[in-house]
Symmetry: C2
Subunit: 217 residues, 2 copies
Amino acid sequence: MHIIDVNSQILQENTRLAEENKKLFNKYGLHVTNFMSAPGAGKTTLLEETIKKISGNYKISVIEGDLQTSIDSDRIKALNIPSYQITTGTVCHLDARMVHNALHNFHLEGNDLLFIENVGNLVCPADFELGENLKVMVFSVVEGAEKPKKYPVMFHKVDVVILNKIDLIPYSGVSLEELINNVREVNPEAKIFPVSCKTGEGIDDWISWFSQNIKGK
Amino acid sequence: MHIIDVNSQILQENTRLAEENKKLFNKYGLHVTNFMSAPGAGKTTLLEETIKKISGNYKISVIEGDLQTSIDSDRIKALNIPSYQITTGTVCHLDARMVHNALHNFHLEGNDLLFIENVGNLVCPADFELGENLKVMVFSVVEGAEKPKKYPVMFHKVDVVILNKIDLIPYSGVSLEELINNVREVNPEAKIFPVSCKTGEGIDDWISWFSQNIKGK
């Protein structure tokens, strides 16, 4: 049994399904963002803060991915935003088929934005295209400045790196400058936004960039 | 193609190889601990602190797992402890074969303890037995109190849960009590040690339990 061949077949089939998703998203004029991170980096909180700022201007839907529970989906629904929770059981990432199946739970017509929150994992989600327009990763600065070197695949693949929890920098001993340099080394093109979802610092810069990025949609 | 069947074959083959590893460990009287966590929870720092406290009493070797770099292995070598770095590329976990191959880099004769630091990932490493005696997970309290509910597989499988970075609790808004209750809900049997590798708080409790646990070896 050739594990690599099997994985490669799985990834090829996923890429094909992601292309199908992309066609569907285009048909409905839907701009789709895939949010990825390690567990606990603050994806859901970032989504909440983003939704609060822009939900007056756009019609938004959210797909949540977790191994278990509907905790995240419930948080989004509390903002009066349609949200569907995918529970993956033991699977460590969302794939294009899961997203496709989840779409049946939404009325896509008239929607502007779809936010997909991936399973918390700094490795595997990066390998699975979902048909999205934008890949955003959220990284908690507390995880350490050297992580872009140790987990280069996701840092390399994303369009945006949001460095969250900068309010904890004074207590964590992590150098934001060193972290940003390490991100740049792996991905010189990425937009980088240091933010604190807790204090609100930096959120407006992210929102401003994101709003401009979807302007043409 | 049946993805689940393929995965099940991979896991069965891994379990067989893990049994082989276990026989080898037993032959050399080696006590083996598998340290798992999300990225940046503090596995390497916990290893460093543990090694400093007990290396006078035991002969220790370390296997490090990361996608890229030998940063962690270099940190262990700086303590004059033999260490071998497995770089997995894009693979999100260590498996029994990787560990078996890494063993060729050590003189197992006369060793007491082998510490294996897994790839930073709260999902997949839990599925891959390595032939170890003890499964320890390190969880950074900053990742949030609800995580045991959302990532139950690893929390359920381990013998020990080390709740690290408790020095950040006053700044993070996370409730240690709620976190411990959530761990207990998923795994009532686990030993739980709240620690701060930064301040040293709680480390002695972990070391004391660990030393007693390997006494009979």
